[in-house]
């Protein structure tokens, strides 16, 4: 039994003719419909080019504007010619001029011969359709669409809106259940003729004349009334982007198309010489082939939709610049900010990078220069240590750093001496883990060899800046994970917070800290704070330090037991 093709084309007629010739020469009759808006000379050229093939017919031409009845009318007429002129055709396949057979037509014929009573047409009830774009699902069938969407978008929209307001609803022909699906089908002679010769056809045609995009619903709905054996899928591989526009296949998709094992694909770029050359080659290899499985290549398309609609998190570049209010994906990966730790512990960053296996920077926002880990002048992505370049766009600097080091967690020190412009950004970033020991900025001052008047002024300045930072961190809309300890409180039991922070940074290595960074010597710190008080400043972020007495000795206290969850 034979297989016939009904081909709808409007541009790139040379390619359409090439494919039609391919099928016709292999014993498959082809009925070609050329859009009436295609220039007459091109149409005549195509006719002339295929004149030598006796199993090719041209059907009367209709204007095929997207989304209108013309496409269905063209299909009906061409199908009728196919059924009338080629009596031994059992399956009729509807294809477009930009379709390309991916497997030898003999394979398709054998495959269909094994399924002689099956109709292959994607046909889904409107309730289950997820792919239509623009919100017109059920309304395609209940409203009227006399205006062109392409040419009169405004009238189209207005008329739809007016019908919605006035609650106009069309009555469906008796027994018709609206179904939608891909335009490209393969039906048996029995089914197709039952649709075309139905006594109610005039009624159906009248109804579908005013349905929106009837080419995706006419056959898809009617087939349910006449066919006993519908397999709801299309034999044509065709992929749509998130706006509902068909993807085009190019030369570099050769392997992808092969892998799909589908029989026919659309749309093929007309200049894809390699694709046409390969798949239309007379001895196109016919290896043992599996069942058609377009799902195998779906991941690629899903990824493209995601890239186009969501983009890569934390990437700021020429064609993606996320909104400033955008909360998720401000940065590419989690990172940690430490305030006060480097002041309180000796060699904190070395210790941190060792126990947590991360990259621990110094004060990235230090006023003199960017303190990259290891004192590097340049860091990943050729970021350089110039403070003025960093301060020109601190947000760009930080997002670049986190983007450039994807896959390796970054930790950096922060403090009231540093440039503060970045503070609101990290506070609003769910990727940031901010740990603050308030008042620790006083420790280096305490150890410094400066005049007390200077120290007092500097302490007051730093305290003011840190208070502002804390206000930002305590705002209700903060998205970062924030932990704040007062210096006195932290010094009392430093192990527990350290353990907590390290566990959070590297959750997989849940183990007790064996090595603790060395706490700097704070003997006399209480007196130092008292001296500040005596000079008229009010140190309030450090907490309560006893004036003369000894500090609580962290080593002497038994740490509270740590629970491993």
């Amino acid at each position: 039994m034979s297989l016939g093709f009904v081909m709808l084309c409007h541009t790139a007629l040379d390619r359409a003719a090439q494919v039609a010739r391919h099928w016709a020469e292999r014993g498959c009759p082809v009925v070609i419909h050329v859009d009436k808006s295609t220039p007459a000379d091109r149409y005549e050229g195509m006719r002339a080019a295929l004149a030598d093939l006796e199993n090719i017919r041209f059907s009367p031409r209709h204007v095929c504007e997207w989304g209108t009845w013309g496409i269905v009318a063209a299909t009906q007429e061409a199908s009728a010619i196919m059924l009338r002129d080629f009596a031994d055709v059992r399956h009729v396949c509807l294809v477009s001029g930009s379709c390309l057979p991916l497997r030898p037509v003999g394979e398709l014929r054998d495959w269909l011969d094994a399924r002689p009573r099956t109709d292959f047409i994607e046909s889904v009830t409107t309730a289950d359709v997820g792919w239509t774009v623009g919100g017109l699902n059920a309304e395609r069938f209940t409203l009227r669409f006399p205006f062109s969407w392409r040419k009169n978008r405004m009238l189209f929209d207005l008329y739809v809106e007016a019908q919605r307001r006035m609650r106009v609803r069309r009555k469906l022909p008796a027994g018709l259940v609206p179904h939608l699906g891909s335009q490209w089908w393969c039906l048996t002679r029995q089914t197709l003729s039952a649709i075309l010769e139905s006594p109610d056809r005039a009624e159906y045609d009248r109804y579908f004349h005013r349905v929106w995009i009837p080419d995706e619903s006419y056959f898809q709905s009617l087939v349910r009334m006449v066919s006993a054996n519908v397999e709801s899928r299309s034999l044509t591989l065709s992929k749509f982007d998130y706006q509902g526009k068909p993807h085009v296949f190019y030369d570099d998709h050769l392997q992808l198309l092969r892998r799909s094992d589908c029989f026919i694909a659309r749309k093929i770029w007309p200049h894809a010489d390699k694709l046409y050359g390969t798949f239309l080659h007379p001895d196109a290899a016919s290896q043992p082939r599996a069942e058609p499985n377009p799902g195998k290549i779906d991941r690629l398309f899903a990824r493209a939709v995601e890239r186009r609609t969501a983009g890569r998190a934390g990437l700021y570049m020429q064609s993606r610049f996320p909104n400033r209010e955008w909360v998720n994906g401000r940065t590419a990966a989690p990172y940690s900010v430490f305030e006060g730790f480097a002041e309180l512990f000796e060699g904190f960053d070395t210790w941190l990078s060792k126990v947590a296996g991360t990259r621990a920077h110094g004060h990235l926002f230090a006023p003199e220069r960017v303190e990259f880990a290891g004192g590097a002048q340049f860091y990943n992505g050729s970021l350089c240590d110039s403070a003025s370049l960093r301060d020109y766009n601190p947000r760009g600097f930080l997002t670049s750093l986190i983007w450039n080091t994807r896959g390796e967690r970054q930790c950096f020190q922060f403090g009231p001496r540093d440039s503060q412009k970045i503070a609101p950004f990290i506070a609003g970033d769910p990727h940031a883990q901010i740990s603050v020991i308030t008042g620790a900025f006083a420790v280096p001052l305490f150890q410094s060899n400066r005049n007390f008047g200077e120290i007092r002024a500097e302490a007051a300045r730093l305290q003011r800046i840190e208070s502002e930072f804390l206000t930002i961190l305590r705002a209700p809309e903060v998205k970062a994970r924030v932990r704040i300890w007062k210096l006195a409180e932290f010094v009392e039991s430093p192990m527990e917070p350290l353990q907590m922070i390290v566990d959070e940074i590297s959750p997989r290595s849940l183990r007790r800290l064996t090595e603790v960074p060395r706490l700097t010597n704070l003997t006399g710190f209480g007196q130092f704070l008292q001296n500040l008080r005596n000079q008229g400043m009010k140190p309030e972020l450090m907490g309560d330090f006893p004036v003369g007495g000894d500090l609580p000795n962290p080593g002497g206290r038994r740490p509270r037991p740590y629970l491993v969850k």
Partner: protein, 357 residues
């Protein structure tokens, strides 16, 4: 956005409040006036151009054009033309600004080039933009046009397998009138000016290195464009004055309409909506211009530029920049990346395929 969030916006780095409708309208009106003035100026400036060879009659429907202004680029042009012909440029529209190294002779006899020449001031024609605006107005209408400098090589996703008509077809299908391509500055292994370049060679062989992730962008609300700066020149010459660092965003590929006009080099266009080539959530399709400025001849050229004072609106302020260039520094740093093709650039986030598969 909830009311609670906007009330405490200061803490989450929220955007400035949007301008009112009236201010927007006024702004749009002013840009419209500006655009008309630019077009009028371009029409006036056409008198500065002398036609050397005019093959524009050969431009067919749907042809892809490439327009440029050149000066003493005889060394770079052979590879430039080769590269862009391979991408699918059908016709080049070139203005030669008083070259004296045989550039005109090189271009005159090529069948797909139309050539104009002028000895007028580059600076006073708004750095060549008036000439470009005129040529595009006259010949570019309805065509996809590439507007490049001779030291820029366009790469875009799949450029090795899909020629420009595939790209422009995709952009058309998405309803996009322009595609951005950021300048990516390539530099050599050693000091600037070392080695020698023979015309026709691939410049990326001599200039294999680039900065992969030190770019910063900000939105210019009036023009709706993204202002991108950074890269090797920013860190080597403008660390103290980052605001003056070169602008890297460009819009080299535009489906031209005679009412369009270049505003600021090929960084921004009027009408301003054309500059909105970025998305605020997902990625759109973009390319990269490989910038081959740092070929060995950069030293002589910079010395000449410094004295001709035809570049930059305020040349005097760029003295230190030229001095920095002329001291032949090494731009390569331990973190520089070696150029390996568009897939690498896409993975690094310098360009994107967007939804193009």
């Amino acid at each position: 956005m909830t009311a609670g969030r906007s009330a405490t916006a200061c803490a989450t780095d929220a955007p400035p409040p949007p301008e009112t409708g009236a201010a927007n309208l006024w702004q749009a009106w002013r840009l419209r006036i500006r655009r008309r003035a630019l077009i009028a100026r371009a029409i006036r400036k056409r008198r500065e151009l002398r036609r050397l060879t005019d093959r524009t009659a050969a431009i067919g429907k749907g042809a892809i054009l490439c327009a440029m202004v050149v000066r003493n680029e005889a060394a770079r042009l052979p590879y430039f033309l080769d590269h862009h012909r391979r991408l699918g440029v059908d016709h080049f529209l070139i203005v030669d600004n008083a070259s004296h190294d045989g550039t005109a002779a090189l271009l005159r006899d090529q069948p797909d080039i139309s050539l104009w020449s002028t000895a007028a001031s580059y600076r006073r024609s708004r750095f060549g933009l008036d000439w470009l605006n005129w040529i595009l107005l006259r010949h570019g209408h309805g065509h996809w046009c590439l507007v490049l400098d001779a030291d820029e090589l366009l790469v875009y996703p799949y450029h090795d397998t899909r020629p420009l008509p595939a790209l422009t077809g995709w952009l058309d299908s998405q309803g996009l009138p322009a595609m951005p391509a950021m300048m990516l500055e390539l530099y050599p292994e050693g000091r600037l000016g070392e080695g020698s370049y023979r015309p026709g060679e691939d410049p990326t062989a001599l200039l294999p290195w680039f900065d992969s992730g030190n770019y910063v962008a900000q939105i210019q609300p009036r023009l709706q464009s993204l202002w991108i700066q950074g890269g090797p020149r920013a860190r080597a010459f403008f660390a103290d004055e980052p605001r003056r660092a070169p602008t890297l965003n460009k819009l080299p590929l535009v489906k031209w309409h005679w009412r369009y006009a270049w505003l600021n080099s090929t960084h921004s266009l009027l009408p301003a909506r054309l500059n909105r080539v970025w998305d605020d959530a997902g990625e759109r399709t973009s390319g990269v211009l490989l910038h081959t400025k740092f070929l060995p001849e950069v030293l002589e050229k910079s010395a000449e530029e410094k004295t001709r004072r035809q570049h930059f609106a305020d040349p005097a302020r760029f003295g230190p920049y030229y001095d920095g260039l002329l001291s032949a520094p090494v731009l390569k740093c331990p973190q520089s990346q070696r150029y390996r093709g568009w897939r690498q650039l896409e993975a690094l986030g310098l360009m994107s395929r967007g939804g193009w598969i």
